[in-house]
Every structure is written in C-alpha cells, then in structure tokens.
C-alpha cells in the first residue's frame, strides 16, 4: 500500500435488498420482505465479510473503517438478531475507528408497531454502534405517500421521530422527495416546513425520477401519469435551497443539506461522512447484493442476482461480477465529476494528485515546475473551451484553485460533468 492510500478514508457499505413492499417509483434492487430469505442473506453476508476481510489482510491493505453505512431496500425490516450477528462479524473482521460514523437507513413505520418494541429495537441499534439514522420520509402528505406506494403516514413519521429523539439519536437524516406528479412547488415547500419542524441534522432533497421498468415508468408511457415539467421542478429545487439556507442548513452537495454547527462559517459537523467518501475518491468496501466498492484503485460491483449471490458465497467465492482497475485518467475524471457534486467543488491539486499517483510515467511528463492548474487543463485541454463557455454563462466558477458549480449550474450538472469523462 502506498502512503497516499493511507491518507484516504475508508468506508463500508452494506446493502439490504428487502422492503415491506416496493414503492411505485423504485428501480432499486429490492424484494418484498414477506417470506424472503432474509436469514440466508445475512448468513451469506457474513461469509462475504470474512472473505473480503481475509483478502484485505492477505494484500496487507486492511485498516479500520471510518464509516459504515447500511442501506437498502429497508435495513430496518431485517431481524434484529441476525443483523446484530452480522454487525459483530463485520466489526471483528474489519475493525472500526472509535469515532466512526455508522448510519442505518430506516423507513418510518418499520421500527415497530408498539412504542416498547421500537425503543428496544433502537436500543439494539445503539448497541451495534449505529449513531446516525437516515429516514425515508419522502413526503408529509398522506395522499402523496399513498400514491408513491409508501407504507407509512405523516403521523407515523411524527411518532417515529419522537421516539428516535427520546432514544438519544442526535444525528438524523430525513429524505424528502419533490416533483411527484400532481405536486406543486407550494406543496413541496409545505412538506419541507413539516420536516423542518423535526429539526433534523441532515436533509436529503431530491426530485422524483421516473425510471423505466417501474410502475411509474409504465404509467408515464401510457400517459396515465404526467411528469412535473422541468421548469417547475427546477424552480421548486431552488426554492428549497433558499428555504434551507434560511433555516441554517449548509447546502454542501447537490441534494444534501446539513445543519450548521456552532461556527456558521465552518463546514457542518453533520455532513454525511460516508456519502462524502464517494465524492472525495476515498475508498469503500461494498458488501451485499449489487453493492459497489472502490478499493486499492479498483472499482468492483457485486452480482445483482440473488441466486448467484448465494451460489458464489456457498462456493466460497466473492460475488463480484465487474472489476475495473482505474487508470490515471479514470481517477482524475472521477475525481472531477464526483467532486463537482460538492458545492465546494474540486481543487486542482486533489484532482491532479489522483492522476499522478496512479501513473509514474505521468510524473515525468509533467515537470515539478508545472502548476496543478496547468497540468489539469493540459489533461482536459479538449474541455477547456466549453468549460469557459459555461463559466461565462454563470453556471461554473473557474478560479486559480479549482472549479465549482453555481446553483444554476447544478440544473445542468450532467452536461458540465460530461466534459470531463
């Protein structure tokens, strides 16, 4: 392992592909929880954890995790007993930093019907080490929640939040979805107000994306559903940004807002440390069905086929289907387009480092005397003219240190990012 890799943060992502029922917009990898092989799944996960950890040890690249993120699906539908076993195995196998961020995704109304059960369940998560909860609230309007195919109501959210707070969870994210068909900008802002009333430490806001192959996708095709026009969607987005800034949240990534700490000029202490790994070219181990990882310069992806996942692990192999060793250009390119998701943007120095550290020859080509900005624009010479056009149109800020999107630039961020791939 190089010294460079040592400075990198490391996270672990674990995918739990089960839900009570699938939402009508969801193109994500998940299965109904009822009668599903949940126990078999956590058993398989434990095998994967052990295989992966052994491999890391063998390569001498093992080190403790700075973040753990259990996502889904709905991880909160998993049995506490098997979940707790799995987490024990995880911690034993990889090691976890004492101050690690440990997020669990949970959906309202899945934490237990009775207060007592819920308190106990949350206590169990605390024992496991979970210190951040991410709740898929999506809306505070019961008709809209029903339309989306969610199983909870606005009242469930209120009760869940009350108990979560009572249990002492002081780092909670709430997801809010807008541009649901039939929803006006005012409706979205009303939802936001109700969410703000819970004073969450973190809010993720994103517009509904109609994906092919989902019930919504089919409804859009048949004309049963009319998507919210782009113009309205963007207007709502910018209104949400305004409102959240006024409410004391830091807009630190395209869709993510974190409550500011004591020093309003310092980065918020509530930024999602795990998600930040993805935007900083840090390392993460992906575990579970369809999970992705990025370790030692290699991007990999696990199979999305549950039978194959089980088969691989019962044969003692990792369930990886895709593997790609990043080139120097891959690294700088990813550093740019993931980094541009952050409001602070990218710094040439970081991007160029991602390039030079992968390729010894590159170091020779660029002399010590070249500034990072010069090297950067030499690598992306083709993109320069268009990048300057975007800058002139007020969508991108280019300065001596690096690049960042403006809030207007976010609306067409894909076009700007695609200059750098």
């Amino acid at each position: 392992m190089t010294a460079d890799n040592m400075d990198k943060k490391r996270g672990i992502y674990i995918h739990m592909p089960f839900c009570v029922q699938k939402c009508r917009y969801c193109a994500f990898l998940s299965f109904g929880a009822e009668g599903s092989p949940r126990k078999e799944y956590t058993d398989a996960l434990e095998k994967e954890i052990k295989l992966r950890a052994a491999l890391e040890k063998e390569n001498g690249t093992d080190r403790p995790a700075d973040t753990i993120y259990i996502g889904g699906g709905t991880p909160s539908v998993m049995d506490i007993s098997s979940m707790s076993e799995m987490v024990k195995t995880l911690k034993r196998s990889f090691g976890v930093s004492p101050d690690a961020e440990f997020t669990l995704e949970a959906n309202p109304a899945t934490l237990g019907r009775k207060d007592g059960v819920m308190l106990a369940k949350l206590q169990a998560y605390k024992f496991m080490g979970v210190n951040r909860l991410s709740m898929g609230v999506q809306s505070m309007d019961n008709d809209r929640l029903h339309y989306l195919g969610r199983i909870h109501t606005a009242e469930n959210v209120g009760r869940d939040m009350e108990i979560i707070r009572r249990k002492g969870f002081d780092n909670v994210n709430l997801d809010l979805m807008f541009s649901v068909p039939g929803e006006s900008g005012d409706d979205a802002l009303n939802d936001l107000e109700k969410i703000l009333a819970f004073s969450p430490e973190h809010i993720s806001c994103y517009s509904l994306q109609i994906e092919e192959g989902t019930p919504f996708g089919r409804m859009a095709e048949s004309g049963e559903l009319t998507e919210v026009p782009d113009e309205e969607d963007r207007e709502t987005y910018h209104r949400i940004c305004r409102r959240l800034e006024a409410a004391g949240y830091e807009h630190y990534e395209i869709s993510n807002f974190a409550k500011k700490g004591g020093d309003p000029d310092a980065p918020s202490p509530y930024r999602s440390r795990h998600n930040s790994l993805y935007w900083n070219m840090d390392e993460y181990i992906g575990l579970g069905l369809g999970a992705s990882g990025f370790i030692n310069g290699v991007r990999y992806k696990n199979t999305s086929d549950l039978d194959e996942y089980f088969a691989a692990l019962s044969e003692g192999r990792l369930p990886v289907t895709e593997e790609h060793k990043n080139t120097a250009f891959d690294n700088i390119s990813e550093a740019v387009f993931t980094g541009l998701r952050r409001r602070e943007g990218i710094i040439y120095e970081d991007a160029v480092r991602a390039y030079l550290e992968t390729d010894d020859d590159a170091k020779k080509v660029f002399s010590e005397a070249d500034s990072c900005s010069e090297i950067f624009w030499e690598i992306f010479a083709d993109a320069r003219k268009e990048a300057c056009d975007y800058a002139e149109r007020g969508l991108l800020i280019i300065d001596n240190e690096g690049l960042k999107l403006t809030e207007q630039g976010i609306d067409i961020s894909n076009s700007i990012m695609s200059l750098f791939v």
Binding site: S292, F337, M417
Partner: protein, 602 residues
C-alpha cells in the same frame, strides 16, 4: 481438343439473400481450395459492412479446379457479381466476362424482382443459364412451385434444375456436373490481337491497381505494354496471374482465361470496369462493346463533424476513390457546415457503404447531408444547368422550368400487398404503367417514379408494408419537367443551407411541416426557445418550437455506484460529439439525414 474445352467461366446470379455467397463458399470448399477449417463463413465477401447486412457488393473472383466424372479436370472460373440495383453496370460487365450463369433460386421464396433483373442482364450477354434450387434442406422448401415459377416467369426449363443446399453441401457435386454440361466452354483465338475485358479492379498498396480480366483473344504477359482502349492510357505489365482467390502469378494469360493484371496503375478510375485492354504495339481494331462511364445518380454532402479535421476527410475520400471508380467528390462550402465535399454515388446503398466505411475504416466523424438527385434546370436564357445541391438552385425568377430524373421501378410482390404498395407509390408520385400476374399469387408492378422519391427510405417503406416480401429493381429512364421548389429550413431564424431540399410544389407544405416536427423531436432543449421554420423564399409555411430548458441533473448517486454514473456521462459525451453548433443552437448530426425519413403512413 483445345485447352479451352476444359474451362468454364460463369457467374452466380441470385436475389440478395438467396444464398449466393454461401454457395460460393461451398464450391470453394468442395474443390479443395480452402481447408474447411479455414473457411470463414462466406469466404468471398470481404467487407464487414456487406457481411453485416448480408448483402454482397463485391465478391472475389476465384479459380476452382474440379475433377469431373468424365475423368477430366476442369478449370472453373467463378466470376461473382454485385447483388444490388445500384451496381447494375458492374453486374453487366461481370456477366460479359462469362459464358454462362448459375441462377440460384430460393426454393422457399421463389423468383424475385432482382432475380429477374439479373437474368435479363445475363440474357443480354447471351449467357447460358443453369437454374438451381437452393435451401432444399429447409422444411418450407417448395421445389415444385419454385420450378413452376422459373418456367412461368423466366421461361427457363427447370425440370432438371439441381436441388441443392448451399448450407449443408447437399447436391453440390451434381450441380457441378450439370454446370460443365450446360455452360459452354469459352471461345477465342490465343494467337489473335489482345482483347481483354476489365470486369473488376481494386487497389493494392503494394502492387497498385489489380485488374480482374477475361481474355477474349490473344495473350498477355509481364513486360508487355498494354493500352486501355477507352481511356487511351498505356501501362507496362508488371505481373499477370490467376485469382485462386488472392493473386498467384503465372507466365501469361491467354484467350478464354480469367485472371489478373498489374501495371503500376495508381487508381481504379484508370482501369475502369468495362474497358478493353489491348497491346500498345499490336492493338485490336475495336474495343469490346458495352463500355460506360460511371454516372452518379445520388449526391450528398460529406462534412467533417465538430472536431474532425478537413484534411482527414479528404485523405479518406481520396483513398476510397482509388478503389471505387463509381465514387466521385469535389470540394463544397456550406454556410452551416463549413468546408466539406459534394459526393456522387451510384445509388443509396453505395452512399451508405461509403459513409459507413468512412466511420469504420477511417474512424472519421462526418456529417452527411440529405441525399439529392441531379436536376436539370432550364434557365430563361436557354442555358441548362445540372443542379444536385439545393443551395445552388438559381433564383426562381431566372428559371424557366426544372426537370427531374424519372426511373422505371419494377416491384415484385405477393398479391395481398398490391393495395398498400399502390398507395405507397401514389404517395411517392409514382405513375403505374402496368401490372401483371406472374403466377396466381405473384404480381409485378411497373411504375415510373421520380428518383428523388426512391432515394429517401422508399425501400424501407416498401419492405415494412410488405413484411419484407416485396422486391424492387429500378433504372434511370428520362428527365421530365416537374413543378419543384426549394424548401428552406430556419433554426432560430437562421437558414441552415445543409437542410434545404428541392420538393414538389404541391407537397411543400406537408414536407415542411413534417421536417419541422421531426427536427423538434431531434433537437434537444436549450436554455432558450428555438423556433424551427420551413420557408419557400420569404414565405414561412410551417413552424414548430423547441421549448426552452431541460434539467440535466442526477439527484442521487446510488450506493456509491460511480461506474454507472460514469457510463451515463460517457454516453452523454459521445452523444454530444455528434452534435453540431449553429450559432447558439446545438443540432445532433443525425438531423441532416434523419430529417426526411418521414415514413408516409399518411
């Protein structure tokens, strides 16, 4: 007995997918030329594009040796022919090099329009024709019906037609025996004055142009000075030989034989198909008949796409021309697309092949504009101009009238599709000359149609209306006056010359509306409104608007799947590379060719 008695020069003629190439493969295999393990499927087809479309444009000529049941060894020269209407002239020259032809009829399909077209070309060259029923391994084969069709439609006795399967190899031996019996040996005087027909040529970077030839009289060897009788150019022969396939040198080629000649010739246009080779010091008195200069029927502009170098395009076009005498180009300047070339083709397929080769073999990014035919513009002062680029059409006030090329189109179809074909042809300004029942269920329709209507997706429309059963053959007939106007397209109020077309006056409105609608689909949304207008002169006849703004943002990066996100961005970038900037409007490059593909289901 003369050596000539043991030579047979023949072609295989067939409808596009009736199995010509497969049969050629089988013959090569049967005569032991290529080991079975080295057989690529369809050995003779050597261009990827053709292989993918299953169309054969140019096959290689091959010399086969076959030991017949009579104990004698025969030299069989298989001279293959292109299989598409665009290449009729080339077909006719290849046939002229033969003494007979094997007519392959698909026993599951029967006779098709092109089969008939090619049979007529063969009859014009006085060739003996051996009908063969192919695809006999299929359950759907109906040899008796096919035989009856050959007799009824073509008028050949098919009672003894060999039944074969080129795919499995069944019946091939019997067919070869029959071939030696039916097809006559060549005639000619090896001691006469040299008369050799060029029936194909291609450029080889080491040897220069390699001419494929059939010697009718005389002989030719290395060191001779040959003369092309139609172009008058002389060359010194550096090599002669046989095509086995590939080139295998020989001492000489003599009357009746088929082989190749090299003479440091720089481009195929100097060894034009149909020309007659003779010796410079002892020339024949007259060339063989049938020489024709290649005539371009369809033109389009080819421009370097954004970021592509003009020089690269020029180099590639020059290289292609070296090998394709029917392809020509000259520089053109478009206000919208910049510097590029106006290119002439034999037909639409020829155009497709060339543009695809530019992309594949030369890795070029080019924009091709709408194909156009050549109009004869009769001016008020009596001058007649040939106009193939709509931008060059003179002001209406100066024009007396315009004439457009008309083709004779023969369409063969199962009778149940006659109605929809007639509707289609009517929409394309076709004029039905007559219709005949070839058999109880097969009909041939004879139309006269403007070529302009045939070159835009007519073939696709025909195929889609007849579930692929109809077949088309067309040839140029004459020029005919027509009421035509220039239709201009404006984007963001700026005329885009590369989108101008010449259309019949009465259809201008509908066409203009159609183009605007199509462009509205193709042009991505911008951060401002983009009006699309169609105009004749100053008059706007249709308008659409591309609404402003499009969000282009991914709210979530699911579970750190950076690779998925990256693929999306790469796709987007690749899509953008195929865009063209007009002022502040970005237009995808396919707009220039897609725009008139308006299937008239109307």
């Amino acid at each position: 007995m003369s050596y000539l008695d043991n030579i047979r020069n023949f072609s295989i003629i067939a409808h596009i997918d009736h199995g010509k190439s497969t049969l050629a493969d089988r013959l090569i295999e049967k005569t032991g030329l290529v080991e079975a393990r080295d057989m690529k499927e369809q050995y003779l087809d050597n261009m990827d594009i053709e292989r993918e479309r299953g169309i054969t444009i140019k096959l290689q000529t091959t010399r086969l040796k076959y030991k017949a049941n009579d104990g004698q060894e025969y030299i069989l020269n298989l001279i293959d022919t292109p299989g598409h209407v665009d290449f009729n002239y080339e077909v006719s020259r290849s046939l002229a090099a033969c003494d007979g032809a094997v007519l392959v009829v698909d026993a599951t399909q029967g006779v098709e329009a092109q089969t008939l077209g090619n049979v007529y070309l063969a009859l014009d060259e006085d060739l003996e024709i051996l009908p063969v029923l192919n695809k006999m391994d299929l359950d759907s084969a109906r040899p008796d019906d096919a035989r009856a069709e050959i007799e009824d439609i073509i008028g050949l006795d098919a009672s003894e037609a060999p039944e074969i399967s080129a795919k499995t190899g069944m019946g091939i031996d019997g067919m070869l025996e029959k071939l030696i019996e039916v097809i006559p040996p060549p005639q000619g005087d090896p001691d006469g004055r040299l008369k050799a027909l060029i029936f194909d040529s291609y450029y080889d970077s080491y040897k220069g142009v390699i001419i494929y030839t059939r010697i009718f009289d005389g002989r030719v060897k290395r060191g001779d000075t040959i003369r092309m009788m139609n172009t008058g150019k002389n060359y010194e022969v550096t090599e002669v030989g046989y095509c086995i396939p590939g080139t295998v040198p020989a001492d000489e080629l003599k009357a009746g034989e088929v082989g190749y000649i090299c003479g440091s010739i720089k481009q195929v246009a100097d060894a034009r198909v149909g020309d007659t080779i003779t010796l410079a010091n002892a020339p024949a008195d007259a060339p063989l008949k049938g020489y024709k200069k290649a005539q371009s029927m369809v033109y389009c502009g080819i421009f370097p796409a954004e970021g592509e170098k003009y020089e690269n395009v020029k180099d590639a076009l020059e290289k292609l021309q070296v090998n394709d005498a029917a392809f020509n180009f000259e520089p053109e300047n478009s206000a919208a697309l910049g510097y590029g070339y106006r290119c002439g083709f034999l037909g639409l397929l020829h155009m497709d092949v060339i543009t695809e080769r530019l992309a594949r073999e030369f890795d070029l990014d080019v924009i091709t504009t709408l194909p156009s035919v050549v109009y004869k513009v009769v001016m008020k002062d009596g001058q007649v101009l040939d106009i193939q680029n709509p931008s060059n059409l003179p002001a209406p006030a100066l024009i007396a009238h315009i004439e457009e090329p008309i083709v004779k189109a023969d369409i063969m179809t199962p009778n149940e599709y006659v109605g929809s074909i007639m509707t289609l042809c009517q929409n394309r300004r076709g004029n039905m000359i007559h219709m005949e029942y070839l058999t109880k269920t097969r009909v041939q329709l004879h139309y006269e149609m403007p070529l302009n209507e045939v070159i835009y997706d007519f073939f696709d429309a025909l195929k889609s209306r007849t579930r692929g059963y109809a077949s088309l053959d067309y040839e140029f007939l004459r020029y005919q006056p027509a009421k035509l106007v220039k239709l201009d397209i404006l984007l963001n109020r700026e005329p885009i010359d590369a989108l101008s077309t010449i259309v019949p006056e009465e259809e201008a409105m509908a066409k203009g509306r159609g183009i605007c609608e199509k462009l509205k689909e193709i042009i991505p949304r911008h951060q401002f409104e983009v009006p699309i207008q169609a105009a004749i002169g100053q008059k706007i006849i249709a308008r659409e608007t591309v609404r402003a703004y499009r969000k282009d943002v991914l709210a979530k990066c699911y579970g750190g799947d950076i690779t998925r996100k990256k693929k999306l961005l790469e796709k987007q970038k690749a899509g953008k590379k195929r865009m063209r900037q007009f002022g502040s409007v970005t237009v995808p490059q396919e707009a220039f060719t897609e725009v008139l593909k308006l299937d008239d289901g109307r």
